[in-house]
């Protein structure tokens, strides 16, 4: 087990800069998830840690040792791939034992390690089967087993659940978390699925366009995003972004989102936004904070935060209902109680929980 450190890492392919000078420190035992859209550089970063891609510049160290010039086999890492990458001509046992055999471990120890990993992953009865005879989930378990038996310093996961169906993905997600709690190895996990990132990670690294947008625990990223990209990427459905003007109102402030709707800024935020009064900004609020009005919702200014909207689309989800409407031409999503919404086309009274509001500078994309 070991800590991983990335210093000013750059990866350039001809004219394209895939990773642009990123710094990242991953302490021992931590489960870090790199998340971002396709092409953001997350897989490239993982592959550079693995040694499968050369770095253009910068420094990667594992366990305090700089590994820039070390081949993958000497980095003491194990990797789980999206398509499992199991050797098709070997049984599950042989797949898991392959790395140990190459490292000339005694046969008895190989057997003991493989059986131990198989017990952790509940695949003991699959050890004599070839990959062809295994389901997707079972293959992924064997691939994880192959990583576990090596007892490496770092586990690397490259979108390991993307090939599984939705139900199995949830099961395997829990399985990965359970395994990490048992073996406590430093883990770097790449995914484009923000739900996977939120549920698995001790810390999430959000990447976009080759840079790190924000690093933090899942709850911090969710509640205190630093940029519009992070605010929009984390959370499903995505945060609503509405063009607005910040204006003074009495002793406080209001966010004017349309000619008729101006929502009060909570008193606790007034000082924070003082310099931005009069500016054109972007108002951000998550759908779960755009609800039906309640008597005691603790949102500060009571009915001032309420407004009326004409519903365009109503999506009942069972435990909640999503409502879609427009404010001054911008589509907005709200999340209300199952029976609170009427039919599409009807008007509905909604409440914006302004304690959770964000104001974003449209020029820089930074959250104020």
């Amino acid at each position: 087990m070991a800590e991983v450190a990335l210093r000013k890492i750059v990866k350039r392919y001809d004219d394209v800069e895939a990773v642009r000078s990123i710094d990242l420190d991953i302490p021992d035992n931590e489960f870090v998830v790199l998340v971002g859209p396709s092409g953001c550089g997350k897989s490239t970063t993982l592959r550079m840690i693995a040694g499968l891609e050369e770095i253009t510049s910068g420094e990667i160290s594992i366990g305090g040792e700089v590994v820039n010039d070390l081949p993958p086999k000497d980095r003491d890492i194990a990797m789980v791939f999206q398509n499992y990458a199991l050797y098709p001509h070997m049984t599950s046992f042989e797949n898991m034992a392959f790395g140990l055999k190459l490292r000339k471990f005694p046969k008895a120890e190989i057997k003991q390690r493989v059986e131990h990993a198989a017990r952790i992953l509940d695949i003991t009865e699959l050890l004599e089967r070839r990959p062809k005879a295994l389901s997707g989930g079972q293959r992924q378990r064997v691939a994880m087993g192959r990583a576990i038996v090596r007892n490496p310093k770092v586990f690397l996961f490259d979108e390991p659940l993307s090939n599984l169906d939705a139900k199995l993905r949830v099961q395997m997600r829990t399985e990965i978390k359970r395994v990490h709690q048992k073996v406590k190895t430093t883990t770097v996990y790449v995914t484009h699925d923000q739900v996977e990132a939120m549920t698995l990670a001790d810390r999430v690294v959000v990447m976009n366009n080759g840079i790190i947008e924000q690093i933090g625990p899942p709850q911090e990223l969710y509640h205190k995003p630093r940029t519009r990209f992070v605010a929009g990427f984390i959370g499903s459905p995505a945060m609503n972004f509405i063009p607005c003007t910040l204006e003074s109102h009495g002793g406080g402030m209001r966010v004017r989102v349309s000619d008729t709707v101006a929502l009060p800024v909570p008193a606790s935020r007034v000082a924070q936004y003082q310099g931005a009064v009069g500016r054109q900004l972007t108002f951000g609020l998550r759908p779960e904070h755009m609800t039906e009005p309640k008597q005691a919702n603790g949102s500060g200014n009571g009915s001032d935060s309420d407004f009326t909207a004409i519903l365009d689309v109503v999506e009942p989800m069972g435990m909640e209902t999503m409502v879609y409407f427009t404010i001054d031409g911008t589509e907005v999503c709200g999340r209300v109680e199952p029976n609170a919404a009427g039919e599409a086309g009807a008007s509905m009274r909604l409440h914006a929980n302004m304690e959770h509001m964000h104001l974003i500078d449209p020029a820089t994309g930074l959250v104020l």
Binding site: G51, P72, F81, A85, L86, L102
Partner: protein, 299 residues
């Protein structure tokens, strides 16, 4: 009203099913017809060979008899004489030595070449791979004159070891091309997993790629075997004494003297010579087809 509404779709479905059955029947009939024609066309020569090889010289020479049947009784004399009174067994031994050596050389060279060209991306690897295939397109009827000079210069003229040297010019390019396609069809994550597991490139090749690409390797092996077993132009040009000759040329030159054709023995010789490739094909046909198709789609 409702009855009519239900009965109309049923009638339509019936018509559609009947038409499907009829078109399937026609497709099957046409398939069988052409397959039988094809089989007859290709089985006539072997049948003629078997029939002729089991006749006496007198019956073969007798113009009045029906060439398609054995009228005067089956005899194995042609085979006996061929194997005991001619150099056929020497030719067979020479051919076997040449073929085994050529297959080994071809597979070692083409597997290594295909692995490096197909998997270890380096500058110019794509052009090199295409270049290797282009050399296959040069026919041996063009190559034999310059090759004659080379073989003569290294002192291997009239030695079957010269064949071991020149046959790979025919087999290596095509086998390399098949293997490049096969190796490229193996997911790249497999070698990355092997690299992380601690394998070097040679271990990756021997422990992962060769076992996984076995169908392709078998296909390439069969190709190399067939080419070197059946080569004619090179031995015809480079070999001239009986003790060095191979089957294809040896059988023809020793059993056709001027305008005297020993048809019975020629047919017996051709049958015995065709047996090894036939046996190999019969056992490895499935691998051969799988190997060729995988190479074809990814090449």
């Amino acid at each position: 009203m409702s009855t009519a509404a239900v009965s109309v779709p049923r009638a339509r479905a019936k018509v559609r099913h009947a038409s499907l059955r009829r078109s399937r029947r026609w497709a099957l009939f046409a398939s069988y017809f052409f397959l039988v024609m094809f089989a007859i066309f290709f089985l006539i020569p072997p049948y003629y060979m078997i029939v002729t090889s089991l006749k006496t010289d007198a019956e073969v020479a007798h113009m009045a008899t029906n060439p398609w049947i054995i009228a005067n009784g089956v005899t194995l004399d042609q085979f006996k004489i061929l194997l005991t009174q001619t150099d056929f067994l020497i030719y067979f031994k020479n051919t076997a030595i040449v073929t085994v050596c050529v297959v080994i050389i071809t597979m070692v060279v083409s597997v290594l070449a295909a692995f490096s060209l197909g998997r270890m991306k380096f500058w110019g690897s794509g052009i090199l791979a295409t270049g290797i295939f282009l050399t296959y397109l040069v026919p041996d009827t063009l190559l034999f004159i310059p090759l004659f000079q080379i073989v003569k210069a290294i002192g291997l003229l009239n030695s079957y070891w010269g064949m071991v040297l020149v046959y790979p010019t025919l087999t290596v390019p095509f086998c390399t091309w098949i293997m490049i396609g096969y190796f490229q069809s193996i997911p790249k994550e497999l070698d990355e997993a092997a690299l992380i597991d601690g394998a070097g490139h040679l271990q990756m090749l021997t422990k992962i790629f060769i076992p996984v690409a076995l169908p392709g390797i078998i296909a390439a092996t069969i190709f190399a075997f067939t080419v070197s077993w059946a080569a004619f132009v090179y031995p015809m040009t480079f070999l001239y004494s009986s003790d060095q000759q191979v089957l294809t040329v040896g059988t023809v030159t020793s059993l056709i003297r001027a305008d005297v054709y020993k048809w019975g023995m020629l047919m017996a010789g051709a049958l015995v010579a065709a047996a090894p490739p036939l046996i190999i094909y019969a056992f490895l046909m499935d691998y051969y087809i799988a190997g060729l198709t995988a190479g074809a789609t990814k090449g």
